[in-house]
Each structure stands twice: as structure tokens, then as C-alpha cells.
Symmetry: C3
Subunit: 241 residues, 3 copies
């Protein structure tokens, strides 16, 4: 066989492999968006078992200043904490309790070996208890707005994408009748206790505690600037006037 | 020609076809998102002719507890009902009337034969009439928030994706000054009459009528759990306290 | 070499090239969405240097009725106008000042030569100053909602997508306590001065000035109707009742 021929078919094969890889990465992005969106739709309806099953074994959730580590930690957060408090242990929605978690604006980057990925997403929430339900449980609000940013990690195991790290950072809260300008319930949703002392506590508290609205920390970007390729660095603060 | 060669080129062809199919499916997803987003942008501006043209002939809309069937039914809903009531028959926006339909969080699955698809999307609305317009028409609200979930079907005809079923399920309503906790206009937007008795009525009423906020039904997911592959099933309700 | 063989390999190559092009276009869409989303995340945090670096040299921003042309114009808007007024010149967020710019519902079309693209996106904003910050600067609002539509252009230079035209069209504003129905601050955010008389002015004022809420102009679509392929044309207004 002439040598030239061989290299031509080899070139075709190489090009085909490169294309296959590019298509795989596009499919991975779609799968990760779908995973994150499914998380939102399940959470809306207090389907906490379904939420927990979106995570890999070696997972973590950062929420409210606490770290919930591994599947036991993540189950503690969603099943022992949220499910007990929001739906009295029922795996599903309660009439009169709204908990919409809109998921949007995902910037997803998949590692070239297709084993891991990072995703920045945004959450926008409408939540609260309808007046017909009577008294609002202590420590909860009648109705509120909430906005936040995730900087998550995902892993691919046996061809299936799962959440490895869910790192949720609230940007602002606002009670419905006062808005974000009037927010004054500064301790709501803050995790201050650890397991096992608190059976629904975190594995660790994040230290120092992340700044909360009306503080406005920048959640670092997993990605470089899309045009310059520079990593983001905070500018130096000027002295206060 | 040697046998080996033949099979090599055949293998290349097969791989190429598989790749072509994967790319086609990715393009289909993009086309369906675009279709659904275009629906939202048209509806914002009361461009009802343009909305109706997004549907195939054998289409259906489920809205407010009514089923509007086939193109005549869908035209009845958008042209005879919405357009008459919202813009007095004009195909376009009216000053002072806001009707923003944000479309987001789409989970789209295309059938392997590329002839049909399912999509779950979310709608988030801001709507109402500016005070400068004077009186608000009877049966409408001054200004309101609305959130909902679509579980839609799409078909591909002559290479073009169209909406086959638009199934819109409101999660909550809230008048601007009271929010979702204070929602008490329980009959707003409910379809209770059928055609031809009502010239703008539904072809059929959905029975039993879907639960409305403050009820919180789960809209079944067209997709399986992204990690476990299980179909969702409602948990049994515990007895009420 | 037999002729047939040659044409077979040529056919394979042609098919491969077509596929490569389709994959390139899918990647371009992802890159443009990422660019627009990154814009939103940077703007949230008053990272104005990072915002400006998303634009190409020959760029333009249309905002508030003004055109800011070329990199000098765009720097004037983000650095001399927004940064001076919102963060007193600091390139980053100020505690107590919320400026969330949710980016969603992108319809992106890439030119076949992959050198330019159009994108329609939506912005949904929550903004304002927390009460703890004391007095709100003159000409600003305590807290407000805002919705808008972009019809943007992008260019690809040296393989990198950049913003060429950012054309932002506000659909509605609403102060938090009054909503969009009660909007009465009709001069807020309107650009009425030009450079160099105003060092933070526009290069040109758009004439006639675009209609503002409660006016409801249709922002023309860069795309044709996804099903009929027709270009959108406004219907004739009927005489006022």
C-alpha cells in the first residue's frame, strides 16, 4: 500500500477524533445545564430525595456559612434540615408553601479529559407561605425574594454527570413588603451549629464567615476573562472617605 | 480491492454518521430553545399572529384549565380571547400595558428519530397596566407577578421545529401590592366555558381541574432523573396532623 | 489509483468539513452566550474594567437614548459615568449597593463565515441601596425593578468573540414600593448631553428618542420568524377608539 494513502486515512481519523471530542464536550455542557436545571425543579417541589440523588458520593454543599460534606452531610442538609423544617418530613410540596428556585445564566467549562467541570449559575427565588396557611413557622418569613450565585463543580462517573460541589452564595434577600433595601433579618438562614451536637448541623463552619447582604462580596469566577484571558483579581480599596 | 480496506472506510462512514446524528440533535435543541424563546418575545408584545404561526396544524394549548385543540382552537385562544381582551384586536403592543414573559431553564429532549421532542421550560411574568391608562378592565389586575412551568411537545416538519403542545401550568400569582402570600383572586384567568357556546371558549375543560395556587401540584417531568434514570413518582402523603 | 476511490475519500472529506463547520457554529453560540453572561456577572459587581474589555475596538453601546461610540465612548459610559456615579471610581462593588443584572433568553445567530453574530437577550434587574447606607444619591432610586431587551452584535477576532454593539432597551422600570404601574420618574437614566460638553456624555443622541415605559415599542428582531421565515413588520394601528 502506498504510504501516502495510509497517512490520508490516518489524517481523516485524527480529524474525526478531534470532532468527536468537540461534540462530546458540547453534549457535556448540555448535560450539566440539565443537571443544574433539574436540581432547581426538584427543589421547587421539596423533592429532597431526588435532589440528594443528583450528587456523587464524594460531594459537598456550602450553604449559609456551613459545609455539608459527603453524602451523609448532604443528606443531613436536605433531608434532616430542609425537609424536616419545610415539609415536616414529607418528600414533596406542601400546599401554600412556595419555594421557586429559578436557575439561569450558566457558564460551564468542562475539563478536557471530560471527568470534571465547573459551572457558575444564578438562582432567583420567590418563596413564602400563603396567608391561608395561618401562622408562619418561627424563624421563617412570610414571603421573600432571594438572589444568589452558585460556583459549582461536577464530575462524570460511568458516563453520568453528577454534582460534586454545590456552593451557593446569596447575593441579597428581601422580604416582600420591604424589599432588599429594607432587609433586616440578618440571622435568617445562617448556619451556626455543627454535627453531631446539632443533628441537622454542618460538618464545618466556613471561617471567616462569608459576607452577607448588605455586604457585597465578589464570588470568584472559575473562568478567566473571556476576551483577555486574565484571571480576576480584586482592585485595591481606596481609603474610606 | 482488499477486504480490510473496505471495512476501514465503512467504519469511518459509520462513525461519521453517528457524529452527524449527534450534531443534528444538538442543533435540534438549539432550534427548540429558540422557538420557545421566540414565543416569549412575541407574546410580550401581543404579536398574536406571530405566536399562532409557531404551532403546527395538529396542535394544542392547555391554559387555565381549558384545552384549545388544533389550529382553530389555538387561534381562538390567542386571537379571539387574548387579542380581543388585551389589545382590542390590534396585533401588537398597547402603550401602558406590560406583559413580559421571561422564558428560562429549558430541559429539552429530542427523540432519536428527530421527529418530536419534549421541553420543560419556566415562565416568569411581570404584567399590568400603568396608572396613566386610567381604569383597569374588569377581570384584570392592576399589576401582578406570575410564575409557571411548561411541559411542551414539539414536532419537526420539513426540517422545521414547531410547537405541538403548549401546556402552561401556573405555579403562583401575586398582585404587586400583596405578593403571592396574599393572593385572593382565585378565579382570575380560569377557563370555565367551552366553544361554541362561548366564541372564545375552550374545546374542552380539563377534568378534574388542575390545582391552583395556593395548591402546589407537581407538574410531572417528561424526563427521568438525570442520575438514577428513575421515573418520578409522588410519595404517599402522610395523614394530616 | 482508481477514480472511484478518490471521489469516495473526497466525499468523506467534504462531509467532514461540513460537520466541522456545524460544530464550529455550535461552539460559537456557546461562546457568545458565555460572553453575554460574563457581561452580566461583571456588571453586577461594578467590575467596569472587565466589562470594557469584553468589547472590540470598533464598538458601540446604545443606552438611555445615547450612542457611545468606539472604545473611548464605551469607556466614557462605563468608567467615567457609571463607575464615578455608582462606586465613586472604585472598580468593584460597594457594600449596600445592589445591581443584579440577570441575563437570559438568548437567541443567537452566527453568520456563516463565523466573523459576526447577532444576539437578542433579556435583562432582568434588581437594584438599589440598602437603608443602612443612609442617603440615596440624588437622581438615583432607593430600590427598583427593571426589565429590558438587548439586540446585540458580536465579532470574532483572532478566534475570540467580542461585543461589537450592545443595544439595551428598557422595557419597564418600577420603584419597589410602586411597581411598574406606578412608575413616574420619567427622566431617570435618560442620556441628554453629549461629549465633550459633558465629559461623561454620549457621542450622539439617538433621534428620535426611543419610546420609554409606559410606551411599549417593539424592539425589532434580528431574526426571521422561526417557522414562516417572514421578517417582522408592525401592523397598522387602528384609529384610537
Amino acid at each position: 500500500m502506498p504510504k501516502k494513502k495510509k497517512s490520508k486515512s490516518k489524517k481523516l481519523n485524527t480529524e474525526l477524533e478531534k470532532l468527536r471530542h468537540a461534540v462530546d464536550l458540547l453534549q457535556d455542557r448540555e448535560a450539566i445545564r440539565e443537571l443544574q436545571y433539574a436540581y432547581g425543579y426538584f427543589l421547587d417541589k421539596c423533592l429532597y430525595n431526588e435532589v440528594v440523588e443528583l450528587f456523587c458520593e464524594d460531594c459537598e454543599v456550602r450553604f449559609g456559612g456551613g459545609r455539608f460534606i459527603g453524602r451523609p452531610g448532604v443528606m443531613r442538609l436536605y433531608l434532616d434540615r430542609f425537609r424536616q423544617r419545610f415539609t415536616a418530613g414529607y418528600n414533596g410540596p406542601i400546599d401554600g408553601f412556595l419555594l421557586d428556585h429559578l436557575q439561569l445564566q450558566g457558564i460551564v467549562h468542562v475539563a478536557d479529559d471530560r471527568r470534571s467541570a465547573h459551572g457558575r449559575f444564578r438562582c432567583f427565588m420567590q418563596a413564602g407561605t400563603h396567608l391561608s396557611q395561618g401562622v408562619v413557622p418561627e424563624g421563617r418569613l412570610q414571603q421573600w425574594w432571594e438572589g444568589g450565585v452558585y460556583e459549582n463543580e461536577y464530575v462524570r462517573e460511568d458516563g453520568i454527570w453528577k454534582i460534586r460541589l454545590l456552593d451557593y452564595n446569596v447575593t441579597y434577600w428581601g422580604e416582600y413588603d420591604k424589599g432588599w433595601a429594607g432587609w433586616d433579618k440578618h440571622e435568617i438562614g445562617r448556619i451556626t451549629t455543627t454535627w453531631p451536637e446539632d443533628p441537622a448541623g454542618a460538618d464545618e463552619l466556613i471561617s471567616p464567615a462569608p459576607g452577607r447582604w448588605p455586604m457585597t462580596p465578589v464570588i470568584p469566577f472559575h473562568y478567566r476573562h473571556p476576551v483577555t484571558g486574565k484571571k480576576w483579581k480584586a482592585a485595591k480599596r481606596k481609603k474610606a472617605k
